[in-house]
């Protein structure tokens, strides 16, 4: 089952697909694959041996090119659409992490490279390998109905970070200094990601951080038992070492004015995150023992050990609520319940999370909504109404209604309210919204003030870490363009011929490796910061990485040589190869449908449906005329040395 709470796929890919961005020509047209036979025009019986190099006309009639083993690049919208449909995990990742590639690298034992492939797109592999919300796994092809369980992508990422060579240092590809300065406000995921990209293209970057340690929510919002701090700091350092200067303990708007920053730098990026907890609008929140879940987590993560008493009620349904509950247990609470309006199914957390929480004896109580918090000075309990589920909201989340007269009181020593956060207003010029938080354009990140930008959760409201990172990187791209008038990187679809399938059929039957955790709950609690997840052994990691179908491989049948013998269809593991009458395209030239037929007259082509293909390679092995070719198709970020 896939617990699918909608994760918006970053618009970059969509833009390429919608064809709004037309940078870069289509470089060349594809090879026709390996051949033992002339495809046409030759005298009977000529040339049965495999040609070293061959010429093929481009479909648009342009002159033929050398293409065997050539790597081709394309910015054609339909190619981006292809990537979106056929490499579902990667398109699901806001940061477009090249998932199949890093999984394959790990399998090949190139652990450090595997880590780097992550580092290139998501900056914090070690961190994300632990706490990512994993939109990719919901889309993993291996998770499709008859195919079993999704690949444990996230934990392979962690394995890459766990097993990279000790002291591994990632060699960044850098641009010459530009002599321009950008000031980033907030050292959270968005800020750090932006700082990294800006520094890499030659800006002089300074980060201002209000807390005394960098990391933002990574450092203060995520409990240590999930994310060991050494991992985090190491990855932050690898950003700082690009010459990014960091000033902590500085609260912008209070200690220093935004105007001054603007005067001092060519651009200022505000990525201060969401630290204001949404207040609960019910009677009794002022009572002692009632506190914001976020504050509690931040205190706990700052080394404090707040006393919560024995019985703790957590109001909220997100990751923060679970952090609160699990932290509470580690802070000595004995009976901790998460109280939610709807039901478990509606929780915006992973299944593992629920499972682990329950193992630690966190109770999840559904269908109840707090009416008031009771007690005279100190909290004594919470009065709840039973709720009845009623359909869903537009965003797909469950609607519930309180039931009249169903009040009951649940006793509590303390109550943690974790019902969401918002951005905190910062003293600064520029248009603001009703909550007097700076407004900015979500595409350009520009505010009404020239040179002042906003990005990350501060702009969008609370999202996931991976989304924040992606946002930071996009902001950096925009700022760089605005300040220099040129582009440093471009996205293209890279196609390289692959002679082999890299896979074995029986790998498809390997069961999903689950992340081992500290067995005994007792051991988990002392020390409380002990990491609960133990990480894959190398064996497990390799075993798991074998499971990946490597959807970046593209299988294609060359109709010029196909004899329509249907051998491939016969050995196909599922309905992934089709007898086709016609291929339907949409306006950008992407496939929208393969019209199948069993009428022999109408079978114009036998086509591999790459959106069904599990890359098992069975067809390739049997094809009598070798008309099936495999290529590796990836979206890559190419450095534009001269700029564009």
């Amino acid at each position: 089952m896939s617990r699918l709470f909608p994760v918006p796929v970053i618009s970059l890919l969509d833009k390429r697909i919608s064809g709004d961005l037309k940078d870069g020509p289509i470089y060349a047209y594809g090879t026709q694959g390996r051949s033992n036979f002339p495809t046409s025009g030759t005298r009977v019986g000529q040339g049965y041996s495999m040609p070293e190099k061959r010429h093929y006309p481009a479909p648009d009639g342009t002159k033929a090119r050398e293409v065997v083993n050539e790597i081709t690049y394309s910015a054609d919208p339909s190619d981006f659409h292809y990537m979106k449909v056929n490499v579902p995990c990667r398109s699901a990742c806001p940061a477009l992490t090249n998932i199949p590639a890093y999984i394959r690298c790990l399998y090949e034992g190139r652990h450090s490279r595997s880590y780097e492939l992550n580092r290139i797109s998501n900056v914090f592999p070690g961190v994300l390998g632990r706490i990512c919300s994993r939109p990719c796994e919901d889309k993993c092809r291996h998770g499709e109905a008859e195919l079993g369980q999704p690949v444990n992508i996230c934990h392979i990422k962690r394995a890459a970070s766990d097993f990279k060579e000790p002291g591994h240092i990632y060699m960044e590809s850098l641009f010459a200094p530009l002599g321009k300065k950008v000031c980033v406000v907030g050292a959270g995921p968005a800020g750090l990601a932006a700082a990294h990209d800006l520094a890499a293209v030659g800006f002089d970057v300074e980060i201002l951080e209000a807390f005394d340690k960098p990391g933002g929510m990574l450092m203060y919002g995520i409990p240590e038992f999930r994310l060991p701090r050494d991992i985090l700091t190491a990855e932050i350092d690898s950003i700082l070492r690009l010459g990014v200067s960091l000033r902590t303990g500085v609260r912008v708007g209070r200690d220093v004015a935004v105007e001054d920053l603007l005067a001092d730098a060519d651009a200022v990026l505000i990525s201060a995150g969401c630290y204001t907890s949404r207040p609960m609008t019910i009677p009794g929140t002022e009572l002692s023992g009632v506190q914001s879940g976020l504050d509690f987590v931040i205190r706990a993560n700052s080394g404090e050990r707040p006393d919560l008493g024995k019985k703790v009620l957590v109001l909220g349904a997100g990751f923060t609520a679970f952090d609160c509950a699990r932290l509470a247990l580690r802070m000595g609470a004995e009976d901790v319940s998460i109280c939610i309006r709807a039901t478990e199914e509606d929780l915006r957390v992973t299944e593992d999370e629920i499972h682990e929480a329950k193992r630690e004896r966190v109770k999840i109580q559904g269908l109840m909504v707090a009416g008031r918090i009771v007690g005279d000075t100190r909290v004594e309990g919470v009065e709840f109404f039973r709720t009845r589920p009623e359909g869903r909201r537009a965003d797909g989340r469950r609607k519930t209604v309180p039931i009249e007269g169903s009040e009951f009181i649940a006793p509590a020593d303390s109550v943690l309210v974790a019902i969401g956060q918002g951005a905190q207003p910062i003293e600064s010029p520029g248009d603001r919204d009703e909550r007097s938080v700076l407004k900015a354009d979500r595409e350009t990140f520009k505010t009404s003030v020239p040179g002042l930008y906003v990005a990350g959760d501060y702009l969008t409201g609370p999202t996931t870490v991976i989304e924040a990172i992606a946002a930071g990187r996009r902001a950096a791209e925009k700022i760089a363009e605005d300040l220099t008038g040129k582009r440093f990187r471009e996205w293209t679809v890279r196609t390289e011929q692959a002679e082999v399938t890299y896979r074995e059929r029986h790998w498809d039957f390997i069961p999903r490796q689950e992340m081992p955790t500290v067995e005994s709950v007792r051991e988990r609690f002392n020390p409380p910061e002990r990491e609960t997840e133990l990480g894959f052994s190398l064996e497990d990691a390799l075993e798991e990485s074998k499971r990946c179908y490597l959807c970046y491989l593209h299988y294609e049948i060359d109709m010029d040589r196909c004899i329509y013998c249907r051998y491939c269809i016969d050995v196909a593991p599922r309905d992934c190869i089709k007898m086709v009458k016609e291929v339907r395209l949409n306006k950008v030239g992407a496939i929208t449908g393969l019209v199948e037929t069993t009428n022999w007259k109408d079978v114009n082509a036998v086509v591999i449906d790459n959106s069904r293909c599990i890359r098992c390679g069975a067809c390739l092995k049997v094809c009598p005329v070798d008309c099936i070719s495999v290529s590796k198709v990836e979206i890559v970020e190419r450095m534009l040395r001269k700029g564009k």
Partner: protein, 338 residues
């Protein structure tokens, strides 16, 4: 025009009661019972007696196959529903068969709940839900003399009596930390404790089980905060949790069990739930209650069938809020799960 197809998922008491009523109500519909166990319907409530040797295996069986043939009810045994699409009104079986239906009664009952920390020693712990489980016990009891019963739900009590009658010695664990039927009222627990010891069971009120170790064959060492215990076999009785995993993501309203109104209808038209897997909302209570036990399950099964057949029968005010065990009324209107 194809006959309408009514499917009953599950083959327990509720399902067994529902089927004939459904047939009466809709004489010309196709009716299919899909059960996970390969055996046809039997009396789960008699399993303890079966273990105790009071009754023979044949006594468990209820209907001959002829019963289903006569009523034109299709039995699909040993078949497992893995997902349901209520928008298409299709369900998928484990062997990838897609079955269309026009109405459904979900009566999958419950599955055993084993809380932490016992869960970590799952393989050392026995339960009692199916004939298969019972046979395991019977085989076990030929070799062991002492049994440790942990956590107490309804079955645990009946079961304890059953094995005592075999002359085995029983250590009966109350695990107050783990919520169960009686978890709410101290007084009931005491009364029950007395009852148990009267019957000859050693009653220990203790939680915090640290670990179970199999020291040798047919000997398990249990370490608790109340000291060490030894027993030939360990049984876990923490009640059932509704067996509704296959429905997650189907859009069906599920909290603990499947949420149904007083007519046992779910949030989908013509989809009903009955028995242990249902969580029934009752207007008078302004709350949900969960049926426990054999007779309630049958009653709910009947009501669900009648309603699917087009009648409008309400469930009585929580049937089993007064549920008697050894003469003591037990409230089962709500229960907790860790």
């Amino acid at each position: 025009m194809a006959r309408e197809h009514l499917v009953i998922v599950g083959n327990g008491p509720a399902a067994d009661e529902a089927a004939p009523f459904l047939r009466k109500g809709v004489p010309d519909a196709r009716i299919t019972i899909i059960g996970r166990e390969v055996v046809s319907y039997y009396r789960p409530d008699l399993l303890p007696d079966f273990v105790a040797g009071k009754i023979a295996e044949e006594d468990l069986w209820v209907n001959p196959l002829q019963f289903y043939k006569e009523r034109d009810i299709k039995l699909r045994l040993g078949q497992n529903v893995v997902s349901v699409d209520f928008s298409k009104m299709e369900l998928a079986l484990e062997h990838k068969e897609v079955v269309r239906f026009d109405g459904m009664i979900i009566a999958t009952g419950g599955k055993h709940r084993i809380p932490e920390p016992l869960a970590r020693f799952r393989e050392l712990v026995l339960t009692l839900k199916t004939v298969a489980d019972a046979k395991v016990w019977i085989e076990k009891l030929t070799r062991v003399e002492s049994v440790l019963v942990i956590g107490c739900d309804l079955t645990s009590v009946v079961f304890t009596k059953a094995i005592l009658s075999l002359g085995k010695q029983v250590t009966f664990f109350f695990d107050p930390s783990s919520p169960h039927l009686f978890g709410r009222s101290e007084s009931i627990r005491e009364q029950l404790a007395h009852k148990m010891s009267d019957l000859g069971a050693e009653v220990v009120d203790c939680s915090k089980i640290a670990k179970l170790v199999q020291t040798r064959e047919d000997l398990i060492e249990v370490t608790t905060e109340a000291g060490q215990f030894r027993a030939g076999a360990v049984g876990a009785f923490f009640g059932m949790v509704p067996d509704v995993k296959f429905l997650t993501g189907s859009g069906l309203h599920i909290e603990r069990g499947i949420l149904v109104d007083e007519y046992l209808q779910t949030n989908f038209k013509r989809i009903y739930a009955a028995g242990d897997c249902a969580q029934v909302y009752h207007p008078e209570l302004c709350d949900y209650w969960v049926s426990i036990g054999y007779s309630n399950a049958r009653e709910l099964g009947r009501i669900a069938a009648l309603n699917l057949a087009g009648e409008e029968v309400q469930t009585e005010a929580p049937l089993s809020s007064i549920f008697k065990i050894d003469g003591r009324p037990i409230n089962t209107s709500w229960w907790m799960e860790a």
